[in-house]
Every structure is written in C-alpha cells, then in structure tokens.
C-alpha cells in the first residue's frame, strides 16, 4: 500500500476537516493518497460526497474508537 499523508482533523467540526483536506490537497501530487482523521461523523459523510462531486478518488472509510479514517487519492 502506498504511503498516505495523514491529515489529523480530530476535534474539529464541520466543515473543518473538509477545509483542512482541501488546503492540503492543493499542494499534493496527482496520485498521492491522503487519510483524513475526523471525530466528526458528519464530515465522514460529507468528505466522500465532496470527492464524488469534484472528481477525486474515494478509497474508503473506516471507524475506529470514534475516529473516522477517510482515505482518498488525488486524481487531478
């Protein structure tokens, strides 16, 4: 599995985790993988929706001890 850049947005609320992701994606490379850590369940639903809308690849979400891990690949 390629190395993923972790974006730790735990403790922030909507739309903080999404904004942190977008700020980091801007400087990422095409093909780079990211994993957002969020304690906000709404963001766990919203981030995949945003990825679908703008066209980045959603790789999956898992929840561990109240923290959602949202994985994605920058495609453009």
């Amino acid at each position: 599995m390629p190395e993923r850049t972790i974006i730790d947005a735990r403790g922030s609320f909507c739309p903080g985790p999404l904004m942190e992701l977008i700020a980091r994606l801007k400087y990422g490379k095409v093909g780079e993988e990211f994993e957002v850590l969020s304690s906000d369940k709404g963001s766990a639903n919203d981030i995949p929706e945003w990825l679908h809308k703008v066209g980045h690849e959603f790789l999956g979400t898992r929840e561990e001890a109240g923290v959602w891990h949202i994985a994605l690949r920058k495609t453009k």
């Binding site: 922030s12 609320f13 909507c14 739309p15 903080g16 904004m19 977008i22 945003w50």
Partner: protein, 129 residues
C-alpha cells in the same frame, strides 16, 4: 455547470455568521460560483483589530464558543482563497460604518452596490443570514 450562489449576510450574531461562512466555504470549494454581500450588523465583524466578537444568539452559539473548530472568519477566508468566492462589503454599509478598505480583512473585496449584486444574483440561489 456551476451553480451560482449569492449570500446576503446582515446579522451580527455568531450562529448566523458561522452558518453563512459554512455555506460560502463548502459551496465555493465544491465548484459553485459564490458571491457574499456583507451589510448591516454583519460588516463590523469583518474589520481588523477592533470591535467585540460576535455575540451568541442562543445556547447553540454559546456551545460553539467552547468548541474547537474553524471560526467564521477562517471559513470565509477559505471560501475566498481555496474556492475563489467573491466577498464584498455593501457600499452603503461601508459609508454608514465609515470603514476604509484597509480596515477590512484582506480577503474582503471592493464595496459592491445592491444593484450590481442583485443583477449578478439573477437566476441563481440566494441565501440570507
């Protein structure tokens, strides 16, 4: 095709500023064309280095003040810088409040008249806070 979203912000309460900033930022970073028009009690909360922070309108606003999360100014800045939202003060409010361009947040653009704002908003979504 991008939606056009026009947001009128007139309230100076924390909850309404926060909600307006949430709509502006998420809309802008999702590819929508967002224009924000700051007027009435809202404009004073976009000046640099002076004035009271916005008061909470109710219990939810007081809860927000205790939580760690992006504030309304940070979200509007993200809307402008990450999503290319256009954020303008109402020209009437600028005159009444007596603020100069250098006294407003740097991501707030030139004063905009209501006629131009309404003309640009035509046919798109309009949100008021």
């Amino acid at each position: 095709m991008a939606n056009r979203i026009s947001i009128v912000v007139v309230s100076g309460t924390l909850e309404r500023l926060q909600m307006a900033a949430m709509v502006a930022s998420v809309g802008a970073v999702s590819g929508d064309e967002v224009t924000v028009f700051l007027s009435m009690n809202a404009l004073q909360h976009f000046t640099l280095g002076k004035g009271e922070p916005p008061a909470a309108e109710g219990s939810f606003g007081r809860l927000l003040q205790e939580k760690k999360g992006p504030g309304y100014r940070q979200l509007f800045q993200s809307a402008a810088e990450l999503g290319d939202a256009k954020i303008h003060p109402c020209s009437m409010a600028v005159d009444v409040l007596g603020v100069g361009a250098d006294e407003l947040e740097p991501w707030v653009g030139e004063p905009l008249g209501l006629t131009k704002f309404l003309s640009d908003a035509h046919g798109g979504q309009v949100w008021t806070f």
